[in-house]
Chain length 131, copies 2
């Protein structure tokens, strides 16, 4: 396998990382994801890493890269499904995942993105007007 | 890796198959999915196989099994992301994917499930609000 599928779900893209990223796979993922953001006009990217039990600095860097790339294309990135051991490793390795939000699972990640991005392109019916 | 992550999205479960299923992985997936349907009360299962470029009779049988298992637990199964070559192979192998619906991609699969299942009735795990 040298490509990780990117699923479009409404205004968001969902990527489930199930295997360790090696060089080409990571490069392809970055390229595919930026391309997908461009063609779909997605406003958010969800990266699920619940299948990963370990994480290394390479993986951390790739996720950070993806977040930065998505950001300059006006899409927010949320990493979800971080396992306890992975959270520990990330902090111990000093990986900050800068520019990337995190959430417990996909559902909460989607909620977070909805909040960040705001309602879909129509006038808000809320009492409180957005500034 | 010996487990494929199962993501809960609203009333549905999403499984992205990215690697060839071997014995234990397939058995685990069946068990995990049935367990997930039971604990989450999911009404639909989406299986994305867009990462697969080939499919064999074992894979076809597992998908059929999952569909049947979900069915008797009152959940519909939709297989999405079937690549052209995979569609050809499925038919040439005589694999019917009985009891399983298919759709072009995740979004259409979700639409299909929404239509099959109907509008959301009163949510069970939301906090009850009186209006």
């Amino acid at each position: 396998m040298d490509r990780i599928p990117i699923l479009k779900m409404g205004r968001f893209l969902l990527v489930t990382i199930q295997v360790d990223l090696y060089d080409r796979l990571a490069t392809n993922l970055e390229a595919d994801l930026v391309q997908a953001v461009s063609t779909t006009g997605a406003r958010g990217v969800l990266i699920d890493i619940s299948a990963l039990t370990i994480v290394d600095s390479f993986m951390g860097r790739i996720i950070g890269n993806i977040g930065s790339m998505a950001k300059i294309m006006d899409a927010e990135t949320v990493v979800v499904g971080i396992q306890p051991a992975v959270a520990i490793t990330l902090i111990e390795l000093g990986l900050e995942l800068k520019g990337v939000h995190t959430a417990l699972n996909v559902e909460r990640g989607m909620q977070l993105l909805q909040e960040k991005i705001g309602p879909e392109d129509e006038t808000t019916d809320d009492d409180s007007s957005t500034e």
